[in-house]
């Protein structure tokens, strides 16, 4: 799987086989590769796959797994007091790294994620670490089992570096809803990292880990990826087993991948996806080799995405969307056109209906999913003689305000007399949304929108304005309603006062066609550098430099620390 980029000859073959984006790509075209590109050895193109770099280095014994692990842990120790991505950090990382080094010494199979430090959102169960889902009700809860995704990570050789912060039970868009602490945006510590997978996105952004797992119910992987300037992949519903993911809204929840490159997000997805007997909603569809379609920049033709039909969702670039965000997206669109895409605007009239319907459905399911947290089996039990007082007391003390709000909303929506007006109607909207996406994707290969209507905002800015926070999910919730895959990747920066904050754009694909999203994303991110530099004016350059070189935002963090001191 990894050899495609490591080995130029294999890559060459892949490049030859690579499919042009025709509307019906049943057959493979042989593409001639011009002599010049053949002459180039594979370079560590930008942004590079950290996973592949690690794998190559440890296998060639250029560096040990322990050295990589120590680098990340040192950075984690330095940054964590300021970023606060984690709720729990593993104490066995170095031991596990040593074990991989021993395996390499013994020439044993080490797995595709060997030595890769993966951070896991704390609503994904891990047998040897706490799994609180960001809630006081699950404080000190240690599940007796690993989530299927975690089990697969371990089988692939990954090292779980720790559990990342989130809005309680995944309900929120900032991590301010965590019962434990707020995570900061590594690009500017006064800003939110987004949510609910804010900890996972911040940890990758601050290079505290290589990649991370998040969960995405209404945008919880994609929005923080956009806010933190990293790549976020929300797979098709059912692509990754939900077994061991603490349920928020079961019909919308999916475990997603966060990395610093599209390649890493794809490699991570490859190792966790597939059917699972323990999740009846996990798909039995065959999983293709996502990375086999990756083409290195050095082998591109002048228009590597020629023929790709891109639809820009017109509703997502109108009122209520930050103008600088719109400019960034327009920039990305121009870039796609440069790469050969045919870009047209497409209208999804149901788009605005998605948000309220999403909140009805997600709240309804969450009111049911959270009814098990009665304070008896988990969490802090309120001392009381009266049984119902125990239940009532624990729930009142244990749940945060956002969770209570959604439980109330959901209970109401499902109640007799209101069901038809709320839940049932929301389900009907869901069907309409699914159909409109289907129709749009029948005539477009991918759809484009911003990942969020704005870049990151300041911590505390929307904390007491839940409606404003909900409105921020408008770009992402429809995709969950339709169950489709989507990839968010950085495409620019916006300025907020002195802060320069990343912006991501979202590519939405047909169900189970992650492969196409990853292929397009991989080409996009490798070529962005030149395009963006040419497009923007100097004030953006410092930020662009971070982006294009994928420079360590640690610099920003350290800078902020220095300023604070």
């Amino acid at each position: 799987m990894l050899s495609s980029v490591q080995n130029p000859r294999v890559l060459l073959l892949h490049c030859r086989r690579s499919k042009p984006f025709h509307h019906h790509h049943h057959h493979h075209h042989s593409k001639s590769i011009h002599a010049a590109s053949l002459a180039h050895p594979i370079s560590a193109s930008i942004p590079t796959s950290q996973i592949q770099t690690i794998q190559k280095s440890i296998l060639s014994r250029e560096k040990t797994t322990r050295q990589f692990a120590e680098e990340f842990l040192n950075r984690l120790r330095l940054t964590e007091p300021h970023v606060k991505s984690f709720l729990h950090v593993s104490e066995t990382v170095l031991n596990e790294a040593d074990e991989i080094d021993r395996k390499i010494d013994r020439n044993e199979d080490i797995g595709p994620l060997a030595g890769v430090l993966v951070a896991v959102k704390d609503n994904i169960c891990t047998a040897d670490m706490p799994s609180t889902a960001g809630s006081k009700l699950l404080e000190n809860y240690r599940p007796p089992y690993d989530a299927t995704a975690v089990k697969k990570l371990k089988e692939s050789g990954a090292i779980i570096v720790g559990k990342t912060n989130l809005d309680e039970f995944g309900m929120g868009s900032t991590t301010e809803g965590s019962a434990y602490h707020v995570t900061a945006n590594p690009w500017n510590l006064e800003y939110v990292p987004g949510g609910s997978s804010g900890g996972s996105a911040a940890a990758v952004s601050a290079r505290q880990c290589v990649v991370s797992l998040g969960s995405d119910t209404g945008g919880s992987v994609r929005q923080p990826a956009s806010f933190c300037g990293v790549v976020g992949l929300k797979p098709t519903y059912g692509r990754v087993s939900r077994y061991g993911l603490v349920a928020y809204a079961s019909s919308l929840d999916v475990i997603g991948c966060i990395g610093t490159s599209v390649a890493d997000a794809g490699i991570l997805l490859q190792s966790i996806c597939g059917h699972d007997n323990l999740d009846a909603t996990s798909s039995k569809r065959e999983v293709s080799d996502f990375t086999s379609q990756f083409i290195s920049k050095d082998y591109f033709e002048s228009q590597p995405l020629k023929g790709l039909r891109v639809g820009v969702i017109s509703e997502t670039l109108g009122d209520g969307v930050d103008q600088e965000v719109v400019s960034s997206i327009r920039g990305a669109i121009s870039h796609l056109e440069e790469l050969g895409c045919t870009v047209t605007e497409v209208s999804l009239p149901s788009f605005s209906l998605g948000l309220p319907a999403y909140f009805v459905l997600a709240s309804s399911e969450s009111s049911s999913n959270l009814s098990r947290y009665d304070g008896i089996r988990y969490g802090n039990q309120t001392v009381s003689d009266e049984l119902s007082a125990v239940y009532g007391g624990s729930r009142a003390n244990g749940f945060g305000p956002e969770v209570k709000r959604r439980i109330l909303m959901g209970t109401y929506a499902l109640s007799a007399g209101y069901y038809d007006a709320y839940y049932k109607r929301a389900q009907q909207v869901r069907t309409v949304v699914q159909k409109s996406f289907k129709a749009a994707l029948d005539v477009h290969d991918i759809l484009i929108s911003p990942a969020a209507p704005s870049a990151a905002y300041k911590i505390g800015e929307k904390k007491n304005d839940p409606l404003a926070m909900y409105a921020g999910d408008i770009m992402t919730v429809n995709v969950n309603m339709a169950g489709l895959p989507a990839l968010v990747l950085p495409c620019g920066f916006v300025k907020d006062g002195s802060a320069s904050l990343p912006v991501g754009f979202q590519m939405i694909g047909s169900a189970f066609d992650e492969e196409k999203l990853l292929k397009v994303g991989h080409i996009f991110e490798q070529t962005l550098q030149d395009m963006v530099v040419a497009m923007y004016h100097p004030p953006w350059n410092p930020g662009l430099l971070f982006l294009t070189s994928m420079a360590d935002p640690l610099v920003t963090v350290v800078f902020a620390i220095v300023k604070a001191a």
């Binding site: 019909s251 009846a280 909603t281 089996r377 988990y378 499902l414």
Partner: protein
């Protein structure tokens, strides 16, 4: 004006058996309507003619002159599959609570239910056996309520699209209750998870099928027969007495009628009442049930249950003969309704009977043996037909041996007793005990000669006109032959000898 008067009598859990299904409880929905308010539109159910054997029955009959009881039954059938409904944990009925628990049964955060395909198979079998319309696409829902032993806070059930609907069950009422054929509607059959038992987290979550009848029953005996037929259909091999159910319902009918007559009808509320065997009364168990808002919504963790025609047809073809078909088959063989009900209503007896008649032509004779000596023995010894040592093969051999004259009927009865008690073969017993009938006329003649020679006085009396003494001689001869003399030959030769003028 439909007044729901009471809901639910829970009879004691029935013992589980290692068959496809075992019934756990019957929740009886009983509602009653006063016929006074709509006498013109509804015809009263005629009380069965001999429905008067007890005072209770009399009381109910009296009540039914003024009231009509409308009874529907909810039945929970617990599947004795080897795994639980929604996880792959092994499940053994009666095992220690908590002895087998996984994240799914415990409702741990992140755990997901996965439907055991055997549950679907059982549901389809039951739906077909109950003549239901199957939903080729059905779904699960969450039924949400507060209960300390409901680990997830909801129960997985089927709400608006159950797997089977709109069926019926045919019943032949016992002759002692007037007999007659009844057809009771089945509203629906659905799959659900057992809600578990108080404070034994993890003990529950066993697969359940719930069968809801139409409110087609009018008396306790009809309800009990419905339940008994259901048990036969789902092949529960133990036939419990349903008289408790019948008595509970009749008590309840009388109780509610009494409250009506005393203008206390407002005391009749929707509730679950428990039958107390000791005092022969129903008492309140839970009130205000059914007022809860269960906030049903589609279970997002389970995909729709899709059945193909092919799958359904495969199951239909493999269905065993249903009790109703069995009764009609026996009826066509020429058996009386009394025989039919006795033989067909216990699946084990029916199996025994069918195996017995596979080799012999005299069906009536086989029925008589089973319903006579064998039934009496089973009753005395409190054994089921599977527990006696006699096999159907030996019974047919026995009947054959009697018919062919190898043994006498009298010896047949003796052998039967031994076969039921100790087992063995008819052939073996006949040889071992030298029981072969004497059919050689010369041999019989010798014995007769001997008896006549030993009783000169009685011979003189016989010949003097006291012909009744023939019986005495026959008895003596039979005794002398150790019961083996062929009775026909014996009598023929004896008469000749006695009447011979010497």
């Amino acid at each position: 004006m439909a007044l729901t008067l009471f809901r639910g009598i829970q009879t004691r859990p029935l013992l589980p058996y290692s068959t496809a299904f075992s019934a756990r409880k019957h929740v009886i929905f009983c509602s009653m309507q006063s016929t006074q308010t709509e006498a013109s539109t509804r015809s009263k159910q005629q009380a069965p003619s001999n429905f008067t054997e007890t005072a209770r029955a009399k009381a109910v009959e009296k009540v039914l002159k003024d009231f009509e009881a409308i009874i529907g039954i909810e039945t929970h059938v617990q599947l004795s599959t080897t795994t639980k409904a929604f996880c792959s944990c092994a499940y053994n009925y009666g095992s220690q609570p908590n002895s087998c628990v996984c994240p799914v049964c415990m409702g741990l955060p992140g755990a997901l239910p996965v439907l055991n395909s055997k549950v679907i198979k059982c549901a389809v079998m039951l739906g077909l056996a109950l003549n239901c319309k199957l939903s080729l696409s059905s779904k699960f829902d969450r039924k949400q309520y507060f209960y300390p032993d409901l680990p997830k806070g909801y129960q997985i059930s089927q709400f608006d699209i159950p797997i089977a609907t709109n069926g019926f069950i045919d019943v032949d009422l016992p002759l002692e209750f007037g007999g007659g054929h009844r057809r009771f509607g089945i509203t629906r059959v659905h799959m659900e998870e057992d809600a578990g038992k108080l404070l034994h987290t993890g003990s529950g979550r066993v697969p359940l099928l719930e069968i809801v009848s139409e409110p087609d029953m009018r008396t306790g005996i009809e309800a009990a027969e419905y339940a008994a037929e259901l048990q036969r259909v789902v092949e529960i091999k133990n036939l419990n007495s349903f008289s408790a159910m019948s008595r509970a319902i009749d008590f309840e009918i009388a109780r509610q009628a009494e409250l009506y007559n005393q203008a206390q009808a407002d005391e009749i509320v929707q509730e679950t009442r428990l039958w107390e065997e000791g005092s022969q009364k129903t008492v309140t168990m839970r009130k205000k049930e059914g007022l809860a808002d269960y906030r049903y919504f589609p279970e997002p963790d389970l995909p729709e249950v899709i059945l193909t025609e092919e799958y359904v047809n495969g199951i239909r073809d493999s269905l065993p003969e249903l009790p109703e078909m069995k009764r009609r088959r026996y009826e066509q063989m020429g058996l009386t309704m009394q025989d039919v009900l006795f033989l067909a209503n216990d699946v084990n007896v029916a199996e025994f009977f069918d195996a017995t008649i596979a080799n012999i032509s005299d069906i009536k004779l086989a029925a008589n043996w089973i319903m006579g000596d064998i039934a009496a023995y089973m009753k005395n010894e409190k054994l089921s037909i599977n527990e006696i040592k006699l096999s159907p093969q030996e019974l047919s051999d026995l009947i054959g041996s009697i018919k062919s004259g190898t043994i006498s009927g009298k010896i047949g009865k003796e052998i039967l007793l031994e076969l039921m008690e100790k087992g063995g073969t008819v052939k073996g017993l006949i040889e071992e005990k030298d029981l072969v009938q004497i059919v050689d006329p010369d041999e019989i003649e010798k014995i007769i000669d001997k008896v006549i020679a030993n009783n000169p006085k009685q011979l003189e009396q016989y010949r003097g006109g006291k012909t009744k003494l023939q019986g005495f001689f026959a008895g003596q001869v039979m005794k002398e032959s150790k019961g083996k003399a062929n009775p026909g030959l014996l009598n023929k030769i004896l008469v000749e000898k006695l009447n011979a003028k010497s």
